[in-house]
Symmetry: C2
Subunit: 334 residues, 2 copies
DNA sequence: CTGTTAGCGCCTTCAT
DNA sequence: ATGAAGGCGCTAACAG
């Protein structure tokens, strides 16, 4: 692969001049610029990004770690950050944590090794203390979907508990009292917070919390199927179901259909996240909106600022509030 | 950020020794290794990946370009390649082409600049001649979902036309004769090939090709809605619909429901790709299986081999054959 | 406007 | 088993 030297030789100029052309410096005569460009073209020259990063001490790349790019939730997150990155002339490096502490850690350190000055990190398995150490070392590191003590200003998260509370309250206000909950079995705050929101709503309306009404499984379609089946086995009286997320709701709906239970006539169901799929299930899913796009965008911009040594904007929203998106999967009872 | 020199100083050894520890070289005494590791720990040392890549002339990273990571189809593709990468100790660099020639080109050159020795490229807008030039320059570059003349051995693609033919034949065999087609409006071979497959099947059974039965729109849920509405406006007699992909099918189904048209009682529908969503639509979608996982895996492994200067395995499958996945969205007519 | 040169952080012979 | 030193490709003063 051709180097800057090859180009300089061919164009009969110094490497400095070639470098200037690469970087669009002003002080190069049009004629020289032309010959250099021709030489680059002829040699199929691609400036080595690693060498540039080393020399400039700046890799112009922003890193992101998510649990799994192939999950639509994280896909949307990555996509948003990518847009911010490319708009500011950065390249995006992605790491997958796969819901595993060690892999989350590896992903983050990999990005640090690549000298990403800005980091948007979604890591839920890594314990606080390890995260703290990393946050101290990397000023451009921002946490998304998690709030870390003493670093609140560098965290963008959602009030999960409130979102879930909203969902269940919506069901209660439609007359439901026997409300099941499909819970994620991941041992992270998202799961416990959302479950807590469910309980909050029940308590507020003096409804009993029945552990038979709660089923745990993986927070995806298949998990939704399993959890729904478990719930069905144990109860016939449930008239409404709140779900950890839209994917579980989709799985649950398919099981309900298989059992000839009509939605929302027989059973109402509500999701969480408001992913694309919610609009294309039948009936269209009523759900809780997770303002992922805005949050990811803010996180990316914050990371960029912090990396430059700037302060977080004073009006920055660190904890977002979910809202209800009404569609057609919830009915008044009776 | 600490450098190898800092570590060497603190550990009172030379940088060479530190380098050996970093690379797990044999010839370092246990004692020295210990002190060096302690020093690294103390300084929060992260070896600079850019410097290593430069010095080793090998970035240990594989690059992938897709149209859009946030699209579930490409999410799955990226995820598969990522697994191959991490299994072989590589890091993954992702570029988005956004269905745009210039952006596809930029994405690829970015990856080349980062000295990814292996490249898995999904680029459909870039014309053949540009692609040829790149393929010539980068021996570890592999094309996915596209076949390039004279580079067939470095391409992994699907027989789109046959897949679509299979789908429509399936509908015909269920007695349908008035069959609509929801076509992608992207001007790429995928669109025209799949449309051609639709026509092939009709011809084989001596059915008329009616241009009123074909609607074009974006190959996503929203496009499916639009195309379906267009079809509905123009025809009442259609009893079955073949779709460019599952996303369009999902959009179409939601429109059919909105218009009180029952699936599959009134209208049968068939998708393409067999993404996760197909199993969670109601009714579960009959579709054409795109063996994406296998294909992406093969592409990644091929790219890795080629980068090492090895030949493609002789038994490599370059053109995959789609298959039919029967579910519940297609009925016998009448 | 252009060239010379000293690093950037790390690896890799080659000595010792 | 360890150290010294040149080089990877590029940038950034500094000179001219």
């Amino acid at each position: 692969m051709a180097t800057i030297k090859d180009v300089a030789n061919l164009a009969k100029v110094s490497v400095a001049t070639v470098s200037r052309v690469i970087n669009n410096a002003e002080n190069v005569s049009d004629k020289t610029r032309e010959t250099v460009k021709k030489a680059m073209e002829k040699l199929n020259y691609y400036p080595d990004a690693n060498a540039r990063a080393l020399s400039q001490q700046n890799s112009k790349t922003i890193g992101i770690v998510v649990a799994d790019v192939s999950d639509p939730f994280f896909g949307a997150m990555v996509s948003t950050v990518e847009k911010v990155a490319s708009k500011t002339g950065h390249f995006l490096l992605i790491g997958n944590g796969y819901h595993n502490e060690q892999q989350e850690y590896n992903a983050i350190t990999h990005l640090i090794e690549h000298r990403c000055s800005s980091l948007v990190v979604h890591a839920k398995m890594l314990p606080d203390n390890k995260l703290v150490r990393l946050m101290e070392q990397v000023p451009g590191m921002v946490l998304i979907n998690r709030s870390l003590k003493n670093f609140e200003k560098r965290c963008i998260s959602l009030d999960d508990r409130y979102g879930s509370y909203l969902a269940v309250k919506h069901l209660i206000q439609h007359g439901h009292t026997k409300i099941g909950y499909l819970c994620s079995n991941h041992e992270i705050s998202d799961s416990s917070d959302r479950l807590q929101g469910y309980k909050d709503a029940l308590k507020e309306y003096n409804l009993e919390i029945n552990s038979n009404y709660i089923a745990f499984s993986s927070p995806n379609e298949q998990g939704g199927e399993q959890a729904m089946m478990a719930l069905l086995e144990r109860n016939r009286e449930i008239t409404a179901i709140a779900c950890y997320n839209d994917s579980m709701a989709a799985g649950a709906m398919s099981v309900l259909y298989d059992n000839d239970i009509k939605i929302p006539t027989d059973v109402s169901i509500i999701g969480f996240d408001d992913l694309l799929i919610a609009r294309y299930l039948h009936p269209k899913l009523t759900t809780i909106r997770y303002p992922l796009h805005t949050m990811a965008e803010q996180a990316a911009e914050l990371a960029l600022r912090l990396a430059k040594g700037e302060e977080p904007p004073s009006n920055l929203i660190n904890i977002f509030t979910p809202t209800l998106t009404k569609r057609y999967s919830v009915n008044k009872i009776g």
